[in-house]
Amino acid sequence: MKANKINGTEWMGHLVMKINLCPRVGIIRMRVLLLRYMAMIAATCCLLLCVACGMSNAEPAGSPPRIALITPAGTGELAEAIRLGAEAAAKEAGAELITVEAFPSEGLTYAPSNPDFTAGQGKVKQEHLQNGTYLLSEREQAQVDAVSLAMEQGASALLIDPLSEKALSDIIQKAQTKDANGVIIPVILLNDEFPVKGITSVISIDNVEAGRQAGQAMAVLMGGRGRVALLGPDPVNPVLINREQGVEESLAQYPDIHVEAQSVCSTRDACWQAAKQLLDEQQVDGLIALQEPASLGAADELNRRTSENNGNKVKIVGFGSEQQQLEQLQEGRIQHLIVQNGFSAGYLGVNQAVARLNNQQVQARVTLETKLVSTDNMFWMDNQKLLFPFVQ
């Protein structure tokens, strides 16, 4: 056995000697292998880094929600203020605001002579009682079409001041059924209240409260006694119904104030005629004009009477903050205006829409404050900012 062991060792030594020749080959092979690995790793690195870079570039930082404002969303300067407010909110929230025009304002019978006077748009709403180029049904349709257009443009929320209950229900139906992704497009109502289901949020003033403010102001103006007439109520429009109700509520507290007749009218001229008729027939101490054209019509009538025989002191309390109304207010023809802030309406409307899109809590109703502005305080700094929202 021992002999074998010795044998083996020698034999191994022999082989070891042989092996010593091999490492060079091994090193070369190793180097080739290493190079191959490194190349592979480098290639993979590059690829993955490219992918990473691509990812970072391609990754959208969350495309901004697109919110559509269907114009005209209100009347005149109010509409412009709403648009500005909506823009401000959209900028702040990082959203995109698109405005879709339901029907061109140029096509209307009343075209403002001065582009700065946008009060003409106020006529739109009441036009169906007159012989306008657009019938109500056409304008309703136009508004519904505008909603479709906005949705085609990828709007994920709608801000609208609908023309009528019918238009609104059509719009809501459209917003709730049209969407393919199973997401209902929130509809936010501005300055109007219609008893239609499916509205996400209503941004509006409290019209009853506004009416109360107007009634209260009138009562103070008349010293708590006299006769008051309402100009321009509308038994169909819920806004005006609420205002009327508010006025009546507040005046009911004054036993010496009698609420006289109501004159239904909806344009400046019609209201002028109505006021004229009213003042001719009765002794009236105060006029509460429930809508913008009514207050202008009443002011026109009073101007006429003032130029004919001085001393006719009929007080006017109106709603709105149109340019011409403000002029009448400055002249003292209109004593008080109940003013709402369109900018806030637009701002809050977009805020609500964004909140809804981000699945945050949404207030079903946002009530905007109204402010009573008089001839004396209309040029106070704060009121200037409220009444004249735009730099011209």
Binding site: W11, I27, L49, L326, E331, F388
Partner: protein, 605 residues
Amino acid sequence: MRPFAGWIRSLWLKFRSRLRSSRVSSIRFIITWSFSVFIVLVLTIMALLLHDKFTQAAERSAELTTRQIVDQVSYNLEDYVRSMSHLYRAIEEHMLRDGTWEGDQVDKQLDTLLSSREDIISITLLDSTGHLLKNRPSAELKPSAHVTQQGWFQSALRVPDHLSFSLPHIQNMYTGPYKWVVSMSKGITVRQNGQDRQVILLVDINFKQMDELSRRVSLGQRGYVYIIDESAGNIVYHPQQQLMYMGLKSENIEQALVATGSYEDEADGQKRLNAVKSVANIGWKIVGVAYLDEIMTTRQEVNGYLIRVLLVVLVLVILVSLFLSSSLTRPIRRMERKMKAVERGDFNVELPIEGPLEVERLSRRFNLMVYKIRTLMNEIIHEQEQKRRLELEALQAQINPHFLYNTLNSVVRMVGMSRNEEVITMITSLSRLFRISLSQGKTIITVREELEHAHHYLTIQQMRFKRKFNFSMKADEDTLDCLTLKLVLQPLIENAIVHGIEYHMDEGCIEIRVYREDDKLVFRITDNGVGMTEEQLSKLLMGSPVVKSGAGSGVAVRNVHDRIQLYYGELYGLEFESELEEGTTVWIRIPIQSEREEDDAHESE
């Protein structure tokens, strides 16, 4: 406490054994994870450092940018205000040069000025009671405007001969749209008809210009610029003035009023960077607001990017280290499989020589080892076979029928000659001879027995050859109990008799001597026979038969030599020395082994 500790301990042991048996302790796992953890750690530290540095730089540059923008706005406004002041002075000069403002000349000049600057809305000259003296473009002054109560009128009266700028306000003196204006007014004393008369010159400039100047400024996505009146803190311009009025927004004006340079504040839970700059001449202060979270957005982007890179690198590192470790462990596993095969007895395996250098070397060694084992196995098999064959041959040599026949013939002859004494001796020797030959199948016997065997053999031969030779045996006392391979002497004695003595004329003499030589046991067989030639000697150990004739042949001698070498190694064996007509000497060398040792060796086997 104690059982609890024991329980913990057993749990730990269990865990460790689980760890050992699982893949956690494998090279692959160790390499992969240590590699990954290390690289990710390094990268994370680097990313953190980088991120910190980057953020600081971004913040600094954001602050700088904000300040620069605010400065720019302020320069622009100052510029505008200055140019308006110049304009005012020009109007003043044109209008009141001769103490009179009547005349077409003045109108014309004013109209030129008005038409050159579209941002001048109106030029109005009033007396100190608020009566209109002249205005351009001429229009009726509304009584409802109450000019004497307006701010610009009062400040002009309060500080005569000082041009004052009003806050932006609505101009309500003329019919037409209400416009936002900044009023420049100054109370001027005019000498007219020898009498000093104080008039107030009002120039209304459209605020739109300043509004746009400020509106166009963008500081990031949501940042903005607002302007406050330094004396009272009224807001001159704010992009969200409406919201502030409605109470939906508020601005930290107090801080802006006292601040210089820049400061940070917080509004609606968002940190903002404010840069403040006063505008000379007009007493306004511009405040630039930048939202820090927008600066942080870049930080977040960097964060996101770094995290993505980190993830990618992590994946990459894991892949690479998996690849690396598998490239290391694969040959090891292959080796393991091959070793298992060897374990099962399959020596015909071979590892491919490839992979990293170390693995390659290892594979080579393994292959060598397996090869060696394989050869050893073959050798052992071969040796065993040879051993068996040689022993058989030795046995055959022992019970050589020729020898037996001759011996028995001699016995018969002796019986015929009635030499009973000799017959007894011969038969006894023969029987003893066979007993030792067989010796219970052992291959190793003591020297004493071997010598006895030789003695009996020699006795029988001596009788056969009619005392043609003498023999002597002498062994050192300490060699007798040593062990030796069985039957190594007999073939050599036979050889000596058959080849050396049989054909010799003189009386032969065979001498056997056993002694120690260093650590070797030596048997020396000397005869005085015919001897051998060099050629014969050399052939003897080559295995070829020396003489074809005769009973014995060289094969037997060769057999002894082989057996010794096979059993004890190549250092041992036979050595011959011979001279023709003088005789031959054979040395048998084997290692010294005592009986005890041999027993141990057998036991250990």
